[in-house]
Symmetry: C2
Subunit: 285 residues, 2 copies
């Protein structure tokens, strides 16, 4: 099923203007939202992030379409859980880079499978040769231009790792190919600030909130790769995979002295999901 | 007319798999080729650039399709001149960033209008707040992720300029939103090296060749914004606009002491076009 510009249809294809700027220039945004028990988890926060990104790139977006696409796909799905993707492009336009005022955005939404084994995994990272660009606003918004991340992930997979560690142009840690990164040191929880070229993740925000409630000392600070090697624990967050513990970096085991805090935070994520959707998940163990 | 996966069709729309990675992730490449007098100018060089880019991102591409799209569109066009765009995406795939081996690329080609007044103009540049990322391979290939350039151009237009000047993360000059940049100092012609986050432009290469033949001392060296302010002349190159003299930067006139060399180089570009296509163009005057 595909929701396309207000219409829910069977099939796998859409009719798209060949001049759609999303296709030709990566001129658009998207959100990936986990659906648990037929409820789009933290949908309002995904919408808020898209609003902020749309304001940054000057793209008009429509809450009604966002909500309609979500409810139509969730309602018609045979699965209770899923991964919703909502894509908004700047729509069709004349040749050239300059956006034309009044262009009508294209909105496409689909729902893919989600299985519990996609969440709360352990992963090995490989440091990518591709650098994250903190000097671009796109490093902080979920735009369609994901080829850097695709290349970084491919490179990591080719090295036998599960995901890539991306550093920014200054050599500071930014993120994985599709997740935010956290470091635990004693009772301190550290994560790179958005300014370092980091997407303000919805699960990142959830974890920061849970960590503060739990009494951890939380800070958004620039991190170097050695901070990962010296950490008590390292983990990633992502709306679909929730929380992943990083066990290895560049072929070497991390110290991972203490996985209590990632475990507790994964329990708190699972509790939030249970409270908001009723779904019972097995957290990290 | 649209050439799509081997078929030339009337109309403005295509049927696209909603999971096409070009649309969802900017996972693809394109070339923009000027057509003069029904001949695609320097098509072999555009093809060679796409081959190199495709090898870098692991995308299989097909010379026959590239040539067929070009000849079909040029043959059926009512205009003798045009701007050909050939887009190749990684095609449809399952959710997630990792490319699936064996995916069938999507190829889309269109031909837009080209008019002589699009070439050999004078332009004012405004330095962008968006930085070019020399730490990404995408800074050196023509991938679909052009939103940085879109934002940079929009910012420049909003400031009353014609185009953006993009610096890389180190503050070195990279390019405009869609063109390579050159500086003339006496009989020296300087342009940033590809390593600084620069697309290896087809017209850039043509100009470097003409400059060497003319006896200029040519060097690919990192440039700072002050090198533009101190230059005898500054110009941009691009396959559609050919050569554009930069008259102003950030609201101030450039010294532009000597426009002889841009003028001579524009004459040489016009002569190459005449030799290869028969079209007579009025060079920069």
């Amino acid at each position: 099923m595909i929701w396309h510009n207000g219409v829910l249809r069977e099939g796998t294809t859409i009719t798209l203007d060949a001049s759609d700027r999303g296709l030709l220039l990566g001129d658009g945004l998207f959100e990936t939202v986990a659906v648990f028990n037929r409820r789009a988890f933290r949908l309002a926060e995904h919408w808020a992030r898209m609003v902020a990104a749309a304001a940054r790139i000057g793209l008009p977006i429509d809450r009604t379409a966002f909500d309609d696409a979500t409810s139509a796909l969730v309602h018609h799905s045979t699965d209770r859980n899923g991964v919703l993707r909502i894509t908004v492009t700047r729509g069709a336009g004349p040749r050239g880079l300059a956006p034309t005022p009044g262009a009508v955005p294209t909105i496409i939404a689909t729902l893919a499978r989600w299985r519990p084994d996609m969440a709360f995994r352990s992963v090995a990272l490989a440091t990518s040769t591709v650098r994250r660009n903190s000097g671009s606003p796109l490093s902080r918004i979920k735009s369609l231009g994901y080829l850097d991340n695709v290349l970084a992930l491919k490179e990591a997979l080719d090295l036998g790792a599960d995901d890539a560690l991306l550093l920014n142009e200054a050599g500071s840690v930014a993120c994985s190919s599709a997740g935010n990164l956290f470091v635990v040191n004693g009772s301190r929880l550290l994560t790179p600030p958005v300014e370092d070229g980091v997407l303000p993740g919805v699960t990142r925000r959830l974890v920061l909130g849970h960590a503060r409630e739990f009494g951890l000392s939380v800070a958004e600070v620039s991190l170097k790769p050695e901070d990962l090697r010296n950490a008590d624990a390292v983990f990633l967050t992502n709306s679909v995979r929730l929380l992943e513990v990083v066990r290895r970096l560049d072929g070497a085991d991390l110290r991972s002295l203490n996985c209590d805090i990632p475990r507790i935070l994964s329990q708190k994520i699972a509790a939030s999901i249970h409270n908001e959707t009723g779904l019972v998940l097995q957290p990290l163990c």
